[in-house]
Amino acid sequence: MLVLKKTTIDKLPELAACLMEKGTLVAPVKEAGGFNFRAITDAAQVDLIFHNTILSPKTVFFPQTEDFVRYSVYQPILEAKPVEPEIRPTFLFGVRPCDVKSFEIMDIHFTRTGVPDPYWRKRRDATIIFGFAFDTSEEADPAEFYHTLGIGAADPDGSDVFMLRRDDVLFLKAVSPRGENLLGGLAGLTDAAPDERKYFDDYIAQGHDYKTRYTCVDAEAIAKEFEAIFHNTDFWTKVSNACLSCGICTFVCPTCYCFDICDETQFGQGVRRRVWDACMFTDFTLEASGHNPRTQVYQRLRQKICHKYSFHIRKYGPISCVGCGRCTRYCPVNIDIFSIVEQAVQAKWYKRM
């Protein structure tokens, strides 16, 4: 049974308050630099009039710092205490379809292969995701290219509840059983009319016609292509000439997962935590012996792009990019991963086909 409910934008605080009673509500909030997902403390903070956030919603499952152990340097190691993360039922509200897709890609790395990461798993299990369609009446942001990755502007896959806005009405559709359970129990929502159901379904179907930047990318083929040009130093130098080697692109990326484990001690009390790290930083691969396999900017940019468009495919299958365009939008020198991929595509295999 398809549950389709609706509410109005001006009643959003009521919906937010309702969710806040059941757990932690994480939703887009307007801040000085733009929107970001934050734990909501005041229901009126929730703001759905946004295009996309600065930091991706991965912050909910993979926060920038995650404490592992608390220790004291004066006490024996047996006194060190693992930190129990505070995990409450969480509602992640207003996630764009491309970002929803990123969770699935990150799941492969964190929990579905190798040793599962307990923190990611627990946070992920505790969260209900409210996907939110892009407004297809708006023009697409020039940086975005999720269409290239086969993601529509209104794909409900991966969400538990999927939302879309029609003027000042907000529709909510249950996609997963968890979502259905939740929606059934939320007060203040009304059932949608049959013509609205049709509108909803049409909107989702038309999501794929919404054009962002597009180039023909096939995972297997692009992986091979990047392997072939891996040692083409000229190519990489050319595309990385402008790169400053800062960490913006990796920090805002929804599928970048590299982290550092650091011990931070103050007054003898310390915490071992993981902190986001970026493959663009000079000391990322610096070994204690002094050896650093990636001293040049081009090597680091190559690592980043090949990781997303080649290594990840060979190791896990899908491309590790959802085309949200954040890296391009926030790059201080406008390096565009899409253009680099496009250049690589045009380089050879595309012509051979």
Partner: protein, 286 residues
């Protein structure tokens, strides 16, 4: 979160410290487990590594130097590191005394492919203090329960000076045994040195082990590996039968933190042991 959390180390106690070389910057630490359960869980094979973890300093991935046949303890040979940024963990460890307690996370990575090595002649080539996991392998193979599973064993081990040779007592014992051929070389001898002089690649060429049903296991400083690999290739060893162990900066050791990749492989979880054939499939980015 403490149960089955791969990021939380188990406590171990330093039961013995052996000063290996005359520069005193390489020591072998013997650890015993504080919790006996951990000892049961710490099942490893030669070639694997573990993260030595000191709260307040950090973690450092080190190859396991003892063999699984050594019951009751694990050993790690650690060099005090720090060329550009000081090696906090290794320095702190070197400053510790017997009885000190640290954390241990592991075993991590893949071992030398023991099943693949069975019934074959093994040529073990090591240089400097990178001999650790090879020592583990040799000890494992020489154990009375295991010796019959392997063919002839040849060890070629080199260091810069006689004083820099690790595990001197064991080397001497191996030289006396008849079931293992031990060749020890130094780049430059001193007045008391009566053994061989010469670089490892040259010695390998000189010894010329037969490629017949043989596997070469090579580990050492990058420059030694670089010149030794072609030697074995020329001797007729196939790429699948030349094995080596890679090093990259690691943090998590379980393939999550994303920094030790060479191409699509993570050195920590897919390695650190690779055959030359596998390495050729990867980009030269290490």
């Amino acid at each position: 979160m403490s149960e089955n959390n791969p990021y939380i180390p188990m406590p171990v106690e330093i039961s013995k410290i052996i000063d290996e070389v005359d520069t005193h910057d390489i020591k072998t630490f013997r650890f015993t487990f504080v919790n006996k359960d951990d000892e049961q869980k710490f099942v490893y094979l030669p070639g694997q590594f573990a993260e030595l973890s000191i709260y307040g300093k950090g973690e450092s991935p080190i190859g396991i130097a003892s063999a699984p046949t050594d019951a009751g303890y694990v050993e790690f040979t650690v060099q005090r590191a720090g060329a550009i940024l000081p090696g906090l963990v290794t320095s702190a460890l070197h400053d510790m005394d017997e009885g000190g307690r640290i954390g241990l996370r592991g075993p991590l990575g893949h071992s030398w492919p023991i099943e693949f090595l069975e019934k074959k002649n093994i040529v073990v080539v090591g240089g400097g203090f990178a001999f650790t996991t090879l020592r583990s392998l040799v000890k494992y193979m020489l154990h009375k329960d295991n010796r019959s599973r392997f063919g002839d064993i040849t060890v070629i081990y080199g260091a810069r000076t006689p004083g820099l040779l690790c595990y001197k007592d064991e080397l001497a014992a191996w030289e006396k045994r008849s079931d293992i051929k031990t060749i020890i070389t130094v780049d430059k001898g001193n007045e008391t040195w009566t053994g061989r002089e010469g670089f490892v690649p040259a010695v390998c060429k000189d010894v010329a082990p037969s490629p017949e049903n043989a596997v070469a296991v090579i580990c050492g400083p990058p420059v030694m590996i670089k010149f030794t690999l072609p030697v074995f290739f020329e001797l007729g060893f196939s790429k699948e039968n030349i094995l080596t162990s890679l090093e990259m900066r690691m943090k998590c050791g379980i393939g999550k933190c994303g920094r030790c990749n060479v191409g699509y492989k993570y050195v920590c979880s897919d390695g650190p042991v690779f055959s030359l054939a596998e390495l050729e499939d990867l980009p030269r980015d290490f």
